[in-house]
Each structure stands twice: as structure tokens, then as C-alpha cells.
Symmetry: C2
Subunit: 231 residues, 2 copies
């Protein structure tokens, strides 16, 4: 029976959770089932919308997330990660409530940004991730320049994210490419995909030019595999 | 908090579990995160090899599977499905041990085969699924003709399945197409993809000609969505 199991608090949304699952499989060198990383995945999507809570006084997702973290612990998870950037607004709270180790997607992403050695860092993320400064503060603390979409551009980023959540991938991609291009025009040398839907929306673009992006999902998967292999 | 949650006993292998997860997302008409089916996924792959236990006196996977079913129940699953055909050899045993509802992939697949109204039914599955007669008995009980690969052909089916499990998708596909063609030559009018790796191995072929196949993963996902929507 597996001694260590990575728990994924997901469902925000399910497609982003499935993308994280696929990345665990792809990044694990395995020649048989048994060599893969043990995962427990909670994709229970009735967690209230994170952006609506932070920006529009919507229902608080914290209690529901706490409950699903507890579910993962009860099922045997020994280290928990969250498949949603915006939800990291509650990371310290959840970590305090949890009985097991938790790894942060913001930490793993910032570590990767620093490694890339570029000065000007763009961000594609939800309105709430921007408003709470989850990434901005950490980027500026590193002495790097933070670049965000224009106000109008950010509206399209958000529209693109909700389009993906409703299954309209092609329309989502069209809008997001436009905003990616605007960030580059504003001088971004590297772009954080700081919402777990964005690596799905820009999947083909990342494949063509992966050095331009820091995929928050991928950095957290790498960090969780590292944790598993050293524990 | 979700009242009903579908639990997936997976990890046999992880790629098949991820395929099942994707099929849940694709088959659920949802315009936002919250409209998706609540899922808890156990992809802890250290479950001893099912075929090796049944045919080569290998380690018994039953106790480990029981434990992971319990884990899913402890996390809140109210209905459990298994993302592996061969593991259904232990279905009745696990169902007896479980506190919650369980739905069988063999049942959902046979129901779909009957619906298709074809007489001659081929099977692509593991050696152990063949040896235990999981499908054969049920197909013949319906008065249908059961068609299996030749002995040599079945060796290639098995090789293809293990190739996928080790990440060698292209080689796996090449071998499986050959055996699919042989089943058709033997008269199969419809082919059960009776191992959860096979729909991944033949993904492109299914897309081109879906009416030729009964995908066991897909039938179980449909049956679980039905269960969720009526409970």
C-alpha cells in the first residue's frame, strides 16, 4: 500500500484538473502502472466561484475547500496541492487547517520565473488573482518588472477563461492569443500562465514555443513529483 | 457540499483513469464548473497486476483494491466505479465489502452491445479477462456469437496493452489495429474495447468509425452520469 499519496484539490474547473492529471502521467518516467505517482484527485466542482467571492462579494469557497481537503486526507493523501491559482488566496488558511503537507502553485511558479532569468514578466490570470496581487507582489519582491494586460484586455482574458469552462475552446483560444500578443508588445519576455485553464486554452501555442511561458500547472506537478521522490 | 459523488477506483493504469476522467467532462453538458459531475479519483497504481494474479499466481490485488475503495468512501464517494475491466473479476467481492453503490463496467458494456443489435461480437481485452470469461459468458448468454483473437493474435493484444502502459503509444496502436482487422476478418460486426487501455490505443480509429466499437470506459461513464442524475 502506497506510503505517500499526492492529493489534488481540483474541480476548479474539472478540465484544469484533468490537465494536471495528464501532466503527472507525462512527466513520470514509468515503464508500468506501478511506477506512476500515487494520486487522489478531488474534482467536486460545487466550490463557489473564487473570483466572484473575492471581487463581487459572492459565496465564500473556504469552508467547502476545507471539507474537500479533509476528504483527501481521510482517503490517504499525505501531501496536497490545489489545481487553481485563484484558490491560492486561501492557501495559508487551508494549510493551517490541514493535517498534511501542502505545496503552493504560486511558490513553484515564482521559482521557475526566477530560474528563467528574464526581467519583464507578463501574467495571464483571473481578475481575482490580479486584484489580490498573488503574483505581482512576489514578482516585484524579486526585483522583476510585472506586466499585466490593459483593463480592456483583462476583460477578454476573463471572457476566454469562462469560455473554456463552458466548453468553447476555440473561441477561448482566439481571445487569449490576442492578449498574449499584447503582453509581448508591452515588453513581456516571459509570460506566466497563472490560471490553470490557460495552459489548456494555449496548448498548441505552448507546444510551439514553450520557453516563452511558465505554466503554473506544470511547475506545481514538477514540485509535487520532487516531493514524492524525496519522501 | 455535493450530496452525491462518483468515486473512481483507478490507477490500472493511470492513463486509462485519465481517459475516464476526460470522458466524464466531455459527456457532461456544463456551462460552468459547478455543473460538472462530482468525482473522486483514486489513481494509486501500486495495485498488483491483475492479469499476473489470475494467470501466473501473482500477488492478489483484492486487499489493496478494498483499501482504496474504503479510501474513496472515507472521502465522500457515494457510488463507486472501477476503471479497469480485468479488475471486475473481483467486482462482486468489492461490492460486498463496500458501504456504497457500485456500478459494473461489464454490465454497462453488455447493455450497449445488446442495444447495437449485432450478432457477432469481437473482444479486445487482456489475457485474464479472456481466461475468466468475464465477457464471453455474458455475450453467449444473450445468444450472441463471441469472437476472440487467435492465440498468436492475443499475444499481440497483450503486448500492445503493456506497450501503452510503458508510454509507447505508436507501437501499441500499430499492433492493436492489426488485431482489430483480424477480428473483423473473423466476422466481428462490433468490437468490445474490453480493456480500458484500448480506447486510448485506438483513439483515432474510434473517432473515424465509432459505430464499430463498444468502448467499455464510455459505457460506464454514461451509466455513472445516469446514476448521478437520478439520485
Amino acid at each position: 500500500m502506497a506510503k505517500n499519496v499526492i492529493g489534488i484539490l481540483g474541480g476548479m474547473g474539472p478540465a484544469a484538473t484533468a490537465d494536471m492529471f495528464q501532466k503527472f502521467i507525462r512527466l513520470t518516467p514509468a515503464d508500468c502502472d506501478q511506477a506512476h505517482i500515487p494520486l487522489l484527485i478531488s474534482s467536486i466542482p460545487d466550490i463557489p466561484d473564487r473570483t466572484r467571492c473575492i471581487l463581487a462579494n459572492g459565496e465564500d469557497p473556504a469552508i467547502v475547500m476545507e471539507n474537500y481537503v479533509k476528504g483527501l486526507e481521510n482517503a490517504g493523501a499525505t501531501c496536497i496541492i490545489i489545481a487553481c491559482n485563484t484558490a491560492h488566496y486561501w492557501f495559508d488558511h487551508l494549510k493551517q487547517k490541514s493535517r498534511v503537507e501542502m505545496l503552493s502553485m504560486i511558490d513553484s511558479t515564482i521559482d521557475e520565473v526566477v530560474k528563467r532569468g528574464k526581467q519583464r514578466v507578463g501574467l495571464l490570470a483571473t481578475d481575482a488573482t490580479l486584484a489580490t496581487g498573488l503574483y505581482q507582489k512576489r514578482i516585484e519582491a524579486q526585483g522583476l518588472t510585472f506586466i499585466r494586460p490593459t483593463e480592456l484586455g483583462q476583460k477578454e482574458v476573463m471572457e476566454s477563461i469562462y469560455l473554456l469552462k463552458s466548453g468553447e475552446t476555440d473561441k477561448a483560444t482566439e481571445l487569449m492569443i490576442k492578449q498574449r500578443d499584447e503582453l509581448i508588445q508591452l515588453g513581456a519576455e516571459v509570460i506566466i500562465l497563472g490560471c490553470t485553464e490557460v495552459p489548456i486554452i494555449l496548448a498548441r501555442e505552448i507546444e510551439q514555443e514553450s520557453e516563452r511561458y511558465v505554466d503554473s500547472t506544470l511547475t506545481l506537478v514538477r514540485s509535487a513529483i520532487d516531493w514524492y521522490q524525496t519522501h
